[in-house]
């Protein structure tokens, strides 16, 4: 009985610790704070990091293949990316939970041009405090989080333009 009780106490403490850690991760990722850095290798084998993209305006987008809204928005984001990539606009699409085969096929199907990276266990999504999919983080040229947008919002080009326009005009 005593050992069960002590086990329970240990588990509770451990759970509390884990939850506090989870809470801490979420707290770090807020509008106005610098986006946590991570290194990546995209599905084409190209490597990079968030810090390595300083000076660019970044749309960091978490998505999954099972999410229809995530997929519907992709062509529009890709068109926008192709229009503005020469002005320092970068998109990093993070797929949560799917295999490389699925992501590769989807990328070819949609003819997407931006880097696609894999987060098979959702660890990166969790470290960014992602609680719904799609979630988009807009990072300014200093790597600061300026917007966090959850759900389907890019229903037309105007929405994208309205969102990014202020940051393009601040281009250095």
């Amino acid at each position: 009985m005593k050992s069960r009780l002590s086990q329970g106490v240990v588990l509770t403490v451990l759970l509390g610790f884990l939850l506090s850690c989870a809470g801490h991760e979420g707290e770090k990722v807020k509008i106005g704070r610098t986006a946590p850095n991570f290194q990546y290798q995209d599905i084409s084998g190209n490597k990079g990091s968030i810090e390595g993209l300083r000076g660019k305006l970044i749309l960091l987008r978490f998505w999954a293949n099972w999410c229809p809204y995530c997929k519907f928005e992709m062509p529009r984001i890709d068109r926008f990316y192709q229009l503005f990539r020469n002005q320092g606009f970068e998109v990093i699409a993070v797929n949560v939970g799917d295999s490389v085969e699925i992501v590769e096929a989807f990328t070819a199907e949609m003819n997407l041009h931006f880097p696609m990276i894999l987060d098979p266990e959702g660890k990166l999504a969790q470290s960014y405090g992602v609680k719904g999919i799609p979630t988009n983080f807009l990072l300014d040229r200093q790597g600061m989080i300026r917007e966090i947008i959850v759900g389907e919002v890019f229903t037309n080009d105007q929405v994208l333009w309205d969102l990014f326009k202020p940051y393009f005009s601040k281009a250095s």
Binding site: Q39, P68, V96, A105, F106, E109, M110, K131, I133, E152
Partner: protein, 372 residues
């Protein structure tokens, strides 16, 4: 004196027993160290071993990444999977999921192998810092397994799937195909099927699939570009996560095709009708989950599918129920886990596979502040 002699014999007997017990271990160790490299015949140190798991089931072992790379060219077509050894744990890991580092450290002296494999990015970073190394991409180069050729009157690049031998990506340079007199506004479902028929006939050499094996998933238009995708089926049953999809620009150009296909009709001999009822399959899945999670799970969604299960360089197929089972217990704050996807063989009732779902399928999940 007799007492000491008896003790001596008993000790000898015990030592003999220990020797007999340990013999298989020595033998195993001996046989392990006796593994020879399939390229240069050198003894293999298991910490640097590379394995080619061939499609026919054969395993080729190499003493180093350097030797395996030498053998790669001749063996490329038959390789199902390449496993390298994580230098930290000694575990075998898929080369495509490995972090490779080139450093001053020579791991296998006789071939001067200076490429190191790590399962984790942290370990790779540590090695780089410690030994002035640099991160390199997968030297087995599957990222670049492309073929370039003329299909019809278009130049295309084709990425071949190692397991199925079928194309996974077709990229046109600049187009895979251009449809004549394409009317973007007038495209309908019938038109989508016509385009699929044309594509299959164009790639018959690679695909050899019948248009009747497909089922339309979706066709949608964004501005003036169409996005069309199909499932692959076997006997009318959808093959799980299969697809053939493409986009068509306003001028009728198809820049690329994404494919997740199987040689189903050519190679499979599966029933297409379940022997188990949904109720039976659900009971099996719930009993399976209860072993590790003693609370109740509820059936959220299900589908009868052909489930391709990948195992060490080959794919086994099952007629299976995919059952999405959820429980309020699964909703833990800070976790995106929402339940289980269980795959139950619809003929034998065996659990084929089970994994966490990261969110409810076909539904975008939001955890509001009120729910926390």
């Amino acid at each position: 004196m007799a007492f000491w002699r008896r003790r001596f014999f008993i000790s000898l007997l015990i030592l003999g027993f220990i020797g007999i017990l340990c013999f298989p271990l020595f033998r195993q160790e001996h046989s392990r160290s006796a593994q020879r490299c399939a390229y240069d015949g050198a003894k293999i140190d298991s910490l640097y071993e590379v394995q080619f798991l061939m499609k026919g089931g054969e395993v080729l072992r190499f003493c180093s990444i350097a030797c395996a790379l030498q053998a790669l060219e001749q063996r490329k077509e038959g390789i199902g999977l390449i496993m390298v050894t994580d230098e930290v744990s000694g575990q075998k890991v898929d080369a495509e999921k490995t972090f490779f580092v080139e450093s001053k450290v020579i791991s296998v002296p006789h071939v001067k192998s200076n490429v190191h494999a790590f399962a984790s990015e942290e370990a790779s970073q540590r090695h780089q810092n410690q030994y002035q190394g640099k991160s390199i991409s997968n030297p087995f180069g599957f990222f670049d397994l492309w073929r370039e050729e003329m299909i019809g009157n278009q130049r295309v690049k084709i990425k071949i799937d190692r397991l199925s031998g079928l194309p996974r990506i077709v990229r046109g340079l600049p187009s895979v195909m251009v449809l004549k007199d394409f009317d973007s506004k007038g495209l309908n479902e019938q038109g989508a099927w016509k385009i699929l028929t044309t594509l299959l006939s164009l790639f018959k050499h690679y695909l050899d699939l019948d248009v009747q094996e497909f089922k339309l998933i979706d066709m949608q238009r964004v501005e003036s570009t169409w996005y069309i995708s199909f499932w692959q089926t076997y006997g009318g049953v959808i093959i799980y996560e299969s697809s053939l999809g493409f986009s068509i620009g306003p001028k009728g150009d198809i820049p690329s095709i994404g494919l997740l296909l199987h040689k189903a009709h050519k190679e499979l001999h599966l029933p297409t009708r379940a022997k188990l009822s949904l109720k039976e399959a659900t009971a099996i899945a719930k009993a399976y989950l209860r072993k590790s999670e003693p609370w109740e799970h509820n059936l959220l969604a299900y589908q009868l599918i052909i489930y391709p299960m990948k195992r060490e360089g080959k794919v086994d197929y099952y007629l299976a129920y995919i059952l999405n089972l959820v429980s309020p217990e699964d909703r833990v704050v800070g976790s995106s886990r929402i339940g289980w996807a269980c795959f139950v063989d619809a003929v034998t009732g065996q659990i084929v596979d089970a994994h966490y779902m990261l969110a409810i399928p076909n539904c975008c999940e939001f955890i509001s502040d009120n729910e926390k």
